[in-house]
Symmetry: C2
Subunit: 123 residues, 2 copies
């Protein structure tokens, strides 16, 4: 119950849900999330720390950047995320975020290194 409740509480807040849906697609670093979602960096970090507390993400450093990706071990969590993803087209904000993620190179003024623009971060 605690696991489910913590999970639901996490995604009950809009920005946190948006983060989950993006990290469910691919690994992203803080500055990419900051740019895609257009929210301040400390807020992104705080959100990710909640994910970390619940053990829902894996982080991996690549050069200057730390990439986060979803790591849902609970099948129920996976099912819920999948069912939301299936309806993504019908949820405007999630669609927008997804489109922005696909074109993130164009909006990555946030990170100086523009990690996705270079042919691979120095790792």
């Amino acid at each position: 119950m605690k696991s489910l409740q913590g999970f639901l509480k996490l995604i009950s807040e809009e920005t946190r849900l948006r983060v989950m849906m993006l990290l469910n697609e691919e690994a992203l670093c803080v500055c990419e999330l900051e740019a895609i979602l257009d929210v301040p960096q400390p807020r992104v970090s705080k959100i990710l720390s909640k994910y970390r507390d619940l053990g829902l993400v894996i982080d991996e450093r690549k050069g200057k950047f730390i990439y986060y990706k979803l790591d849902l071990k609970d099948p129920l969590h996976q099912t819920i995320v999948s069912s939301i993803k299936e309806k993504r087209d019908t949820i405007e904000q999630l669609s927008i975020d997804y489109q922005r993620m696909l074109k993130k190179e164009e909006i990555l003024n946030a990170c100086q290194g523009s990690p996705t623009n270079v042919d691979g971060p120095s790792d």
Copy 2:
């Protein structure tokens, strides 16, 4: 988004989720919920009022009692509830609640009329 967010926020609180899972099984009145969940009546009423605000329940008076049942119009909401129900056995509190609901006649000291004990409320 608002619909999904409101829904997730609603079930992000334990007692409210417990109510949802019960009302997903059958129509129940306030005093039955009070007895099954073992929470004070005003709290049950307040929870149901949130459901009403979001248009997620239908209420029907039968004699002295008002029976509530889930009325999920959004397929995504339905999918989420179904997926939780599928895992109910693995979530202790939800299992307990369900068992208590099946045997609610034995614990219905809360409602004087014991609605489920009589052969049908006077409606």
